[in-house]
Symmetry: C2
Subunit: 396 residues, 2 copies
């Protein structure tokens, strides 16, 4: 039986992978509502000032600040109220010396005025207000363009759009936005031992319920892709070859699980010119990649690690996404050891600045994924970390 | 003009809110694929052992460990290979003293065997293998139930389901899962100054593009809800009253933006018996809540803060969600000041263990949300934090 002659270091393989992946050029124009979670295909420039006009930041009176400079409590300045408007209305009046316009928060400052006196600070009697203290020029005014200036880049290419980004697009007049087409990701699950539905007899006789496809579909969707499932394929060289060749044709990326090592029933890698096969990651060592096809492990925990260490980054590169990973600093709650020469993917539970390693480590132990919310990586040249050491956790 | 007589402290108001919100009882049974992002309605118990049988953890030979105890390199033990199986097949053979069964990773350990010798460790010649070193009982065997035992709780009520959780459900035989019904959330946007579509003339004349609805729709979806938009309602007491009463009828929760203070055009709060109105949060002070209705600000930044400080937690309580917020520890990169008596929502950019406060702070500045990825809260009794101080960041 062949073994891996050399394991490619994790980051070396990642580099080979990312050099091979080309960003998708196709762009889709989608409504703002549908754009959340999508990746911006180009820089977005505002075509308006936001706010579009100088506006009142409070309810009160628009006036000329100069008129109030000599106002004192014992010698108030009186101004005549010549108009009253609410936000959304425009006053036809011009604020001349000695006059003011009543307005509500958000209303456009009328011509001639350069400040707003808060309503609570004015004493009103009929058509006249008494100003007790000076008002500075610009006070309580939100100036045109102070949020966003016309011509300003408001969002950058590669941004994964969030509700607040969409709000800014809406506020600057956009109805739709250009995002990258979703990469299509073919998923092929191989293994004669796999069954799709619960069957007690079969489970007792050595079959196992397939769970990689539903996990990978979810992960692919989470990271910008559209999964296409090609079903469970038995360990048959011809069938696997056919499925891979069809999936390659129809997708931007293909994930094949099972049969990634050199066992008698490991066929998938025979159909692809691999850029690397076998890397230092643990679990997930037998991963291979070439011609936009990943040959992945059969065990779900290894597949999960391979996805987060390689596939996720390939998907992000395909769409040019920038902010797709949450990395946090943490203190390790318990020591964790690692094999020299291997890049170990250690599942952790991150909470309140601390990362607790999950002890159950076998790649067959799916429940260990459920009990974790992130991972740390122990590089090849380290034998592990001590309790209390600072680590970087990638949350998932 | 009335003002808030007293601002309810942030946490006191949150407590009043959460005491008032009752968890939804309705449950939906959804396919595993549709369950991602949904909230588990009950504890899930496995009805099988996982793995369902003792299985080989490597490719190799199933044997009786006892047979190998005397094996040495200079005096190998020979075993007769009586069967060959691959994963998914069951051997009809029983491993008697002096025999072994060849198998692949994942295959069921045949009767009589209690350990697996790695293929690379065996010298094979025809129907016989030579064992050079002793094999310990249980070696390279993954035992039935070592991942999950029959009857074990694999996922707890309130879990927000992730791809890996779905994988475990699939692996233990589930095809569907019971999740909480999505809360329906009515969204009413009020303000005569608001327009729906770009119109340069109107924007110059004091109108403003409405952006709260699309932001709130996105946030509601992000936090387990189904938004129902009731459109933009002018500042008209009767129309607003009608919209609120209809939305209350049709939804689990209602969000009304605009007109939450005591201005002449602030009507929304007149229709609801509020549990609180005016809290110490900044921005977003005029928030009110009662009868499952939130009366929120008009400015998007204030609405965003009110959503994260109150509405999000109400939604999580409605569905009983547990893991819905990511809180990380960080070092403050610059000092940040706050007004005593106010609970300040400070937007930050979190990266590599550091939180940089976003300086543009006005509640009209939507671009400040775009440049941030989380917030810190400065409580009422603090005047702020110094550069380098440890803070807790809630990521968004």
């Amino acid at each position: 039986m062949r073994e891996f002659k050399r394991l490619t270091p994790y980051r070396e393989a990642l580099k080979l992978l990312l050099n091979d992946i080309e960003e998708i050029n196709e762009v889709e124009e989608v409504s703002l509502e549908d754009a959340i979670g999508r990746v911006l295909a180009e820089d977005v420039v505002s075509s308006i000032d936001l706010p579009p006009f100088d506006r009142a930041a409070v309810d009160g009176y628009a006036l000329r600040a100069e008129d109030t400079f000599r106002a004192r409590e014992y010698s108030p300045v009186e101004l005549r109220v010549i108009d009253e408007i609410v936000a959304g209305q425009e006053s036809g009046a011009k604020v001349e010396p000695g006059t003011a316009v009543k307005l509500t928060t958000g209303a456009k400052i009328p011509e001639g005025a350069n400040a707003v006196l808060m309503q609570e600070m004015a004493e009103r009697e009929g058509g006249v207000i008494r100003v007790l203290r000076p008002v500075a020029p610009g006070q309580n005014v939100a100036f045109a363009g102070e949020d966003v200036g016309k011509g300003e880049v408001i969002l950058k290419k590669g941004q994964v759009l969030r509700p607040q980004d969409i709000a800014l697009l809406k506020a600057t007049g956009f109805k739709s936005v250009k995002v990258k087409r979703k990469p299509h990701v073919g998923i092929i699950v191989t293994g004669s031992e796999l069954i799709e539905e619960f069957d007690e007899e079969k489970l007792k006789a050595g079959k196992i319920l397939e769970s990689n496809s539903v996990m990978l579909k979810g992960l692919v969707r989470q990271y910008f892709g559209e999964p296409v499932f090609y079903g469970i394929i038995a360990d048959d060289e011809r069938l696997i070859g056919e499925a891979i060749s069809r999936a390659k044709e129809e997708n931007d990326l293909v994930l094949v699980t099972g049969g990634s090592a050199f066992g008698d029933t490991d066929f998938a890698h025979r159909f692809i010119k691999l850029l690397f096969h076998g890397t230092t990651i643990k679990p997930g060592r037998p991963i291979g990649y070439g011609e936009r096809v990943f040959v992945m492990s059969g065990y779900p925990v290894a597949v999960f690690a391979q996805f987060h260490l390689y596939v996720k980054h390939a998907l992000a590169k395909l769409v040019g996404a920038r902010n797709y990973e949450v990395r946090v600093r943490a203190r390790l709650k318990e020591r964790v050891s690692s094999q020299l020469g291997r890049c170990e993917f250690v599942k952790v539970w991150y909470e309140k600045g601390e990362a607790r390693p999950i002890k159950k480590r076998g790649s067959g132990i799916i429940s260990s994924l459920v009990g974790s919310n992130g991972f740390i990586l122990i590089p090849e040249d380290s034998e592990g970390y001590l309790e209390g050491e600072g680590v970087e956790v990638v949350l998932y």
